[in-house]
Amino acid sequence: MKRLTLGALALTLPLAAFAAPENYTLDPYHTYPHFAVEHFGVSMFWGRFDRSSGKFMIDRAAKKGSLELTVNTASVSTGENDKGSRPRSLDEHLRGADFFNVAEFPRMTFKADDVKFNGDSAAEVTGQLTLLGVSRPLTLKVERWVCKDNPFNKKPMCGGNASGSLKRSDFGMKYALPAVSDEVRLYVGFEGYRD
């Protein structure tokens, strides 16, 4: 009887391990928040933040999760960092008080603990985005979610792509409205390694 109990316990151990909350740390070299805005109603203009950090937790059994993402706003980059004949480049302007105001607000954060699941995969993440000292709700749809072992170092990893949108005027970023659209599309490619 004792052996049977131990055997049953041994069989359930992997399940219990699978059901436990898993914590991941975002890989800053493979996690890049991108944004896109409409310019003069003509083209979509793209940029990204080169430096970000954070962590996420996922509990597939309880269908729960959380995410904390911190973005270094001074790392904003559109690829347009050559002044040319102008006094300042676009990236320098984006770092100034008209847009990301990085001297006063060097970080943008997204903290979420409302995660919707589609089976075992995260499908939607809702939380608070804090930008320029203003916090507003933001929902990111997880369009791609993959968990596997890194093929080289064999560490367990999860990652994918998520997207959402916000109105920059909600955060007090009103410069160049409406020439540069109020709606900002967000696209985040992310990878995290299990702690």
């Binding site: 002044k83 006094p87 300042r88 320098e92 302007h93 770092r95 100034g96 008080a97 008209d98 105001n101 001297a103 006063e104 060097p106 320029l132 000292g133 203003v134 007090g172 009103k174 410069y175 160049a176 409406p178």
Partner: protein, 272 residues
């Protein structure tokens, strides 16, 4: 009309000029025409859509301090005749207030850097306010100084990559220009007082300092701007009031132009 008010050039030039001119004319009997600068600036801030206090950012604190300067200036004009001592007291007051305006930026610097920047900010603001307020008795020189301080701070801000602060500065310059126009037409019976000199100098100092801390205006541009209340004291010709206003404006704009040139050169990689 709404579309017109969304145009940045209208917001920072035509609108504050017209509002400033109307305010200066309406307040002439009260000897408070100097409030033209505050009225034009407030109109521009409203049109730009930044009349909010939450969150209280450095640029919004600049607007708050501009309002406080206008109120305090008008109060001083109505309550007593300002003296040289008044300028020093107001300079010290707004020098201290500049620390409050930019504390969120200074607090992120190393202690040494914050101390040096803070001391520089206080000295710059205190000097500009004290030296400009001491022109309160002379509407020609005060108007010319206010015009140059606004335009200098505004254009230098644009060159330093802050269009918002640039608009603020140019709006201040345009509204002060409206005051000066009234002086050119009506002469010395248009009083500048502390309502003009305090508002214009405090706002210009804070806009220029903001452009240095929040954007990339070089400190040497601020040093050049600090010469505006000095150069405007150069001798004026014995001529009609409008001619004196033109000459005083040229004196003041030399310093303001120097500030803009230094902001431009620093942007091109030029170093001292």
């Amino acid at each position: 009309m709404n579309e017109l008010l969304q145009n940045p050039i209208v917001q920072s030039s035509a609108l504050p000029f017209v509002v400033g001119l109307v305010a200066a004319a309406l307040l002439l009997p009260l000897r408070l025409s100097g409030l033209a600068a505050a009225a034009g600036f407030a109109a521009a801030v409203m049109a730009i859509g930044n009349f909010a206090l939450e969150p209280l950012t450095a640029t919004r604190k600049i607007v708050v301090l501009g309002g406080a300067a206008a109120l305090l200036g008008a109060l001083a004009d109505l309550a007593f005749r300002p003296t040289r001592f008044t300028g020093m007291v107001l300079g010290a007051l707004f020098g201290g207030a500049s620390l409050w305006a930019f504390v969120s930026i200074l607090s992120q610097k190393s202690p040494l850097e914050a101390a040096l920047l803070g001391a520089g900010l206080v000295a710059f603001t205190a000097w500009l306010v004290a030296a400009t307020v001491s022109l309160h008795y002379d509407p020609v020189r005060a108007g010319a100084a206010a015009l140059a301080l606004g335009l200098g701070a505004g254009i230098a801000s644009v060159l330093g990559a802050s269009a918002l602060l640039g608009q603020y500065g140019m709006a201040l310059g345009a509204a002060s220009g409206a005051f000066l126009l009234l002086v050119m037409v009506l002469g010395a019976r248009v009083a500048a007082g502390t309502s003009l000199t305090l508002t214009a100098s405090a706002l210009a100092a804070l806009i220029a300092a903001g452009a240095m801390l929040l954007a990339q205006v070089h400190p040497t541009a601020l040093a050049a701007l600090a010469l505006v209340p000095v150069l405007v004291r150069l001798p004026l010709p014995r001529a009609a009031g409008w001619m004196q206003a033109v000459v005083a404006s040229v004196y003041a704009l030399v310093a303001a132009g120097g500030a803009c040139a230094l902001a431009w050169l620093a942007g091109r990689g030029w170093t001292i």
